[in-house]
């Protein structure tokens, strides 16, 4: 099996992060819960999520019964006590007994629900006795995962096919993308039957990390740290999304968790850690698989502009605006002399950000091609017409 075929098959299962990893990963099944016409919460794959599901079903049936009683009462009255069938109105309007009954009974029902709810809450809150820790950081608009016990950290972004299909006038239709908007380039890989503690924080605004099959969501708040835990019982691919409005691309920062058997996971870790020297190679293979250039070949002006336009739309447009005209505190890029004349400065600002401002550093978030594209785009779009072409190799040199 050549490498390319393997990688393609693997990324169909779990994304590019599994790339150089043993073929056993092919056995990781896709969760069956996500399907069209799905109606209900997942039972999930942790003891916690199952407990949450059971509580959900318990209270669901209780409210259904109460609801049916109310509906029956109303419809029976409507049927029976119509003036058109000669109903004569009674004149009673008070009954202390009845009122006490329908105050006390709902209270008892609530008490009955509160007991399992409290137990479940206590369990969710207990983050002690963990086996490993993953730090999750929310960004506009992607996730970063750091394995505190290993020297592994990476960004996890919307996969390229989804990203292409979600644009206006897309090159491919969403219907043709597998796991449209629910797939990422680098999934979070974790072992099964391991108590994983998640530490959550954010880089810019509040996000929320939610994988329904783990049974909870938790806010990621800039400057603060939150805790949650999960112990996944079955190997599989579990998908989720950001659940707190975090700006323009809130809907485009999915989460993919790949749970592996312990041995497979260790092999993956080994690959990540020992492959550190080849990390960039990994990225390139991933790029190649997604139809981007493998080596640092020069890109044509058209390619640069089209990559740049996409990156601009996803990353820059919310502040600097569609025509680069800027707004309020965000400077205009169109017609900005420094932008047109100083390519080194433009590269520097995009890679390193501007200290003390809202301009973030994109150096570790975008790859060479993307930065090259967006620099070229900014310097040539909206009548900037500098004619400058910045190539991926220039960016690599500037890093």
């Amino acid at each position: 099996m050549n490498l390319k075929m393997l990688t393609r098959a693997l990324s169909a299962v779990g994304g590019a992060g599994l790339l150089l990893f043993a073929a056993s990963a092919l056995a990781v099944p896709e969760s069956e819960w996500r399907r069209p016409w799905a109606l209900n919460l997942p039972q999930g794959v942790t003891s916690l999520s199952e407990q949450v599901y059971n509580l959900h079903m318990l209270v669901f049936w209780i409210v259904c019964i109460i609801g049916l009683i109310v509906f029956f009462g109303v419809f029976y009255s409507v049927w029976k006590f119509r003036k058109s069938v000669g109903a004569v109105p009674a004149q009673w309007h008070h009954s202390t007994t009845v009122e006490i009954i329908w105050t006390v009974i709902p209270f008892l029902i609530l008490l009955f629900i509160a007991i399992p709810a409290t137990q479940t809450m206590v369990k969710i809150d207990d983050t002690s006795d963990y086996d490993m820790t993953v730090k999750v950081t929310g960004y506009q608009w992607m996730w970063e995962y750091e394995y505190l016990d290993e020297d592994i950290s990476f960004f996890s972004r919307l996969d390229r096919d989804s990203d292409r299909a979600r644009q206006r006038n897309p090159e491919i239709r969403p219907q043709d993308v597998e796991h449209y908007l629910l797939n990422v380039d680098n999934p979070l890989v974790v072992p099964v039957n391991t108590r994983i503690r998640f530490l959550l924080t954010a880089n810019d605004v509040i996000h929320a990390w939610w994988v329904p099959e783990l049974g909870w969501k938790k806010d990621a708040i800039p400057g603060f740290i939150n805790e949650a835990w999960a112990e996944i019982r079955e190997p599989g691919v579990y998908r989720g999304q950001c659940a707190e409005l975090c700006g323009r691309d809130h809907g485009f920062m999915p989460i993919v968790v790949v749970a592996l058997e312990q041995d497979d996971y260790e092999a993956w870790v080994d690959e990540q850690v020992n492959g550190n020297g080849e990390a960039e190679e990994t990225a390139e293979v991933a790029d190649e698989d997604n139809g981007e250039v493998a080596e640092q070949e020069d890109m044509s002006m058209d390619e640069l502009m089209s990559v740049g336009e996409r990156v601009y739309g996803n990353q820059c447009l919310a502040c600097h605006q569609a025509e680069g005209q800027g707004m309020a505190t965000f400077p205009a890029l169109a017609g900005n002399d420094q932008v047109i004349e100083d390519r080194e400065w433009v590269k520097d600002v995009i890679i390193n950000g501007v200290s003390g401002t809202a301009m973030q550093a994109f150096g570790n978030r975008l790859n060479d091609e993307e930065i090259a594209g967006v620099v070229t785009y900014i310097m040539n779009a909206w009548g900037n017409d500098s004619g400058e072409e910045v190539q991926p190799a220039d960016i690599r040199a500037a890093r």
Binding site: I66, V78, P89, W92, S95, T103, P174, G215, F252
Partner: protein, 527 residues
Amino acid sequence: MSSTTHDAHHDHHDHAPPKGMTRWLFTTNHKDLGVLYMVFALIMFFVGGAMAMVIRAELFQPGLNLVDPHFFNQMTTMHALVMIFGAVMPAFTGLANWLIPVQIGAPDMALPRVNNWAFWLLPAGFVLLLLTLFMPGGGPAGGWTMYPPLVLQLGDAFPFLIFAVHVLGISSIMGSINIVATILNMRAPGMTLMKMPLFVWAWLITAFLIVAVMPVLAGAVTMLLTDQYFGTSFFSAAGGGDPVMFQHIFWFFGHPEVYILILPAFGIVSAIIPTFARKPLFGYSSMVYATASIAFLSFIVWGHHMFSVGMPLAGQLFFMYATMLVAVPTGVKIFNWMATMWQGSMTFETPMLFAIAFVILFTIGGLSGVMLALAPVDLQYHDTYFVVAHFHYVLVSGAIFSIMAGVYYWLPKWTGHMYDERLGKWHFWLSMVSVNVLFFPQHFLGLAGMPRRIPDYALQFAEFNMISSIGGFAFGLSQLIFLWVIIKCVRGGEKASDQVWEGAKGLEWTLPSPAPYHTFETPPVVK
């Protein structure tokens, strides 16, 4: 001013209202202002509705991109602000203005000039708010909850948003002070508190809620403003602040606000059901106590909007228990309405249809609220379409259905004409069916994992979203019938009798239809 001390009799009056624009601009008459409020609310209902149509159109299919995601966020944010502060609240205030004086036998509101002011601040505030959509960077897009730090990324529109919220807040505080003063000081002789119609009771409690929590919202947004422009860091972690604190302050306002949007609805439904069941309201005093306890509980349940922010266990449990308690008085109300219908003699004119639909659909919204109250499962439901379905059941088929019921119920009193019953029934049935097609599938979407406030979604959600959108368009179109019924009724129609409805009880039905410009200048005596 016409409120001199001559001996006027309510069914003939020589003080006709002035003609033309100035009548509406400078009016201090509670009926004129009530009408203005309601017309304004109706306009805003269609503005906010148009935004909802944009949202549902974008969500019709995956990958549509009819509008930019940033604009989509502006639509969800503005839809909420317009509907809450522009449609539902002013509609209730309009009903209060028109009805409270005639229900308690007062000649006008306590503070007529304040009343005029309070109203005209509203369009001013909304012009300000809606204009932000045309500013560079667009209007507010961080959700109506305005959570920092996201809201601070807003461009030029930011100070306008804050200022607009201040203006709208001042308007509703002034309106509420007026309502409290009217109810406490201007009741006719014999109209004791426990004889007041429930609509008046509901509004008295609502007005207190508004007076208590609107200033808190004003404080919260003021802190946002100083954080942005004056170097404070109430909500910025970098300066030792905490973004979560904004959520606490906001929801301290926000949860009572939710009840501000529903308590008057309870009052309306409690007026309509006895009329058409021809039987007195069951458990009047328990209705009053239930409303008061719901209002009290609303101050200690705000944390249930924030179960996922990382509260300590004790906090989660406290807010969970307190929230579950809300179900008890709410249940009492629903059972009381059922008991009122039991052994009645019912007819089903449009107001009654809407009131019955209110009882049923509000129950659905209330029961999903019980599910949401449970902190551990809320960690799944939170910020999904399940929540969207829940609060739309409560606010659309709850609050808005009650307003429509109220409009059909009192329209003959206002205009002197019966509305077109056939069109009214069409409006009801189309609304009733479409509102369920619109919102019921959203329960499934939320449980199946669809977060709220997203402009595009995974293919698995396509079917239910399409159904929901179709329901949405149908619901939107159905409301044009409502508009037409109102216009038609104002212009003419069958003459309404003074009592209008066979089973109607209360002071307002002793007045002629249409009610004269000035009423109860000599207070009636209530036995």
